[in-house]
Symmetry: D2
Subunit: 290 residues, 4 copies
Amino acid sequence: MELGLIGLGKMGGNMRERIRRAGHTVIGYDRNPDLADVHSLQELVDKLQAPRVVWLMVPAGAPTQQTVDQLAEVLSPGDVVVDGGNSRWTDDVTHAKELAAKGIGFVDAGVSGGVWGLENGYALMVGGEAEHVDRVKPVFDALKPAGEYGYVHAGKVGAGHFAKMVHNGIEYALMQAYAEGWELLEAAEVTTDVRAIFSSWKEGTVIRSWLLDLAVRAMDEDAHLEHLRGYAEDSGEGRWTVEAAIDHAVPLPAITASLFARFSSRQEDSPQMKMIAALRNQFGGHAITA
Amino acid sequence: MELGLIGLGKMGGNMRERIRRAGHTVIGYDRNPDLADVHSLQELVDKLQAPRVVWLMVPAGAPTQQTVDQLAEVLSPGDVVVDGGNSRWTDDVTHAKELAAKGIGFVDAGVSGGVWGLENGYALMVGGEAEHVDRVKPVFDALKPAGEYGYVHAGKVGAGHFAKMVHNGIEYALMQAYAEGWELLEAAEVTTDVRAIFSSWKEGTVIRSWLLDLAVRAMDEDAHLEHLRGYAEDSGEGRWTVEAAIDHAVPLPAITASLFARFSSRQEDSPQMKMIAALRNQFGGHAITA
Amino acid sequence: MELGLIGLGKMGGNMRERIRRAGHTVIGYDRNPDLADVHSLQELVDKLQAPRVVWLMVPAGAPTQQTVDQLAEVLSPGDVVVDGGNSRWTDDVTHAKELAAKGIGFVDAGVSGGVWGLENGYALMVGGEAEHVDRVKPVFDALKPAGEYGYVHAGKVGAGHFAKMVHNGIEYALMQAYAEGWELLEAAEVTTDVRAIFSSWKEGTVIRSWLLDLAVRAMDEDAHLEHLRGYAEDSGEGRWTVEAAIDHAVPLPAITASLFARFSSRQEDSPQMKMIAALRNQFGGHAITA
Amino acid sequence: MELGLIGLGKMGGNMRERIRRAGHTVIGYDRNPDLADVHSLQELVDKLQAPRVVWLMVPAGAPTQQTVDQLAEVLSPGDVVVDGGNSRWTDDVTHAKELAAKGIGFVDAGVSGGVWGLENGYALMVGGEAEHVDRVKPVFDALKPAGEYGYVHAGKVGAGHFAKMVHNGIEYALMQAYAEGWELLEAAEVTTDVRAIFSSWKEGTVIRSWLLDLAVRAMDEDAHLEHLRGYAEDSGEGRWTVEAAIDHAVPLPAITASLFARFSSRQEDSPQMKMIAALRNQFGGHAITA
């Protein structure tokens, strides 16, 4: 089939390649003309035969909103827009409504795969009405990993990004789990080869996983991770997961702890611990460290 | 080689079988005569040719201590005792010293594998001196999973159980991570097929793992886990992990949250939340629920 | 001075009384005619001399929004509206803008005091422009506790409810702290009179506080809180505190733990712990509790 | 009455002064001859009339153990030893047994008060048999704050230090609560005078407390605590509280979070966050910060 693809960065570029390898036609647009197949959204639309499918891989928030606004102008009734970016699921509902007013369908797609996606496939979590999802199905099939898994129609509009958001929330806590265990093993005197311990866990244990494999890879490159700083950004999905949990009164202690650990990792000095130091000094005369 | 194996319960019985399949001779002793090959520790020792290797699979704590005490009496210098149970790693140091006084070697082995071990192999984390560990190596090779991984000599005496303890601590938090994500997906209205979402994650995602596969298996049997109670025991290793972390001033927020979630799950009613209810009533006149 | 007061429930009724005791004129309106001094908003406005000050004590969300909308219609330029309810601070900004378009000022006031406020005074945290805040100052002075403290002009519009929100977030964690300590003392065998311990802490300790006094009061009425259920609602401010923290990338581990403890207290059975139970059963054959 | 006091440091010295002000005789011993009234334990014992009461204010652990060992040699049956230091409550049981073998009584006393104790009194939590506790009562009365509160006989041997340990665990979480709220207020743009907000809370609020007063004092000296580093030691009691909770399967999320926040505050760089950074880089090609 034919697909318009907007946004050809690291993710979008590799996805174009994987979809083409599956025999589909992809017409890509990007602000960067070196990456683009066409030079404007209008040209993209003109080159695609109606009813069109146009897939967005642009940054969440304002850039996605602007692109949806523009597409609402240039697309035709019966076309379908897929948002494959990292949009907050609540935005999907807004975008779907805006496009529906023009007779344009909307599908949200959470995409996982990172730098490994081109070769191994991208896991896809999709939300929207069945008739719209079905229209994009050949592209989903091209992108997803081989085999039975790696694709789900998770529910109505927003369900794709919601499922991807929860995926990322879980990911935060899984990473934190290995990181905590690793720090403890490194701190203990009795265990002398932490890399070998992690490596041994790759078979026969309850905790074997792809993330464990990656941890071993990282230690193979730098046994004690001495060349890294303990600093981690967060991409938004972790925050949204906690906020969604609060909305539903669902306790998420491990995921939230993982999010907060990232916040702390980015502070030069901890303001709240200044207050702790101040209070200890006030009541106990404990020495303070200036 | 020849091995004496003490404790032929669910784990020990399966391990005897797997070691025998590898061509070794196992003489098993258990209090339950229906399971045992011999009828006393003395008979076990008599039937093994010195220098002997005797493997314990008995409950941690007093039963293991008693067995070590008895073996210190009946074994000979040059023999090696392996504790494959769930002993706390600090006990290993005591046991090793007690046996060393009699010229008997000691190896601690953390064993992972559960009900899947007989077919897939048992992951082994081993602590002790190289000369003792080497003596047991053929049995370790028989027990471990096929392939490159699943076995590590993690350090000196205690390192095997320490590594297994941390493995279990990590396991607690991994399970908690999936459990939290699952509860949130079930609570949300937008995602309509949570089992399908989890199942889709088995390929192409960052969070694919054996535990995820098991979560899907559980949902295949009972889609919303309606036939289960939200109740979880803890086996000791999670507690010891947190205690070891406290000893080393290592923060373990996600693992500790997972341990506390299990504690809470076993309370009919939460005492601390009674105090919260009492305080809210005192200052705000908030209705209390009796 | 003269004040219009809308909402004469538990809080509003006591506040009317305290303001009157200070010598001011309060004209109260409530949907419930038994509580009200006037029978409509219009009548309230007519009875007050311009420029008017009208104080809202109605539930946050839709009821407050509707009242603000109505007041925007019936009030005159130069009047000032005070929202003393539990509104989210972000709503204040909306309300201020809406009223400013009509030349009406807006002040947000977080009010603490509960059932003790009538006698002891209400702590007030206020946001808004100085000229509007100054207009309401005599009422603030009437409501606040005697002495130097208990009132703050915390910043621009929204700052009052923001400060009150953080106050409540802190309150959650303070309560949780005492509740955790209390549960541990009750669980221990060595401490035989927990009420006496808490009571002794009222003087000379680092942890003496009004909440501690209330905890002792509660135990004086019911020594082991046996007549209470461990169940706690949350009023919104705790959730908003965590959300504000996430917006600012501030880690709030203790406050968030306190919020989640309340969520858990309201669950008949914990869904996430069902998943833990399911996983333990899958890999370890651990018995499950149905 | 007559009291022997061993350990005349910051705490012990002030306590000697307060007991003397109440009209009792205190004979103090310290390794530092400039502080001591006598020059050896033997001299201390000789100067006291039997049956004696000897109070220890020496560091917990080995120093306390050594002093108890020495006192077991030099004291007589019928004498009573009071440990007022920061001993772990489990040590009390050992010490009581050791002394009981010589006919010497033992009382453990948790002492709170810090630099404010001399003037305001020391809160006392006491464990031991009634006959021993009664012997020390006049000294307890001299040390405790004026009024009804500030002293409790909390239970049998160990109960005093256990209650003091829980007191400190609660203290950790109370401090953390204020510190989190403070950091959030400082981070928010809407609240412009955080010191004034905290100060206003001193009256009429649910969260008023002595720790709040101290927080305001600290801000009065350094409005934004800019001259402090966010670094906090922990004294042992917080760790023991969590360990005691684990022993009793009591969940302590807020107290434990507070302990872990201190651990983190002392790390130059977070090892566990290095692993998070490594994993993010492995799967997502996320830039790493070296």
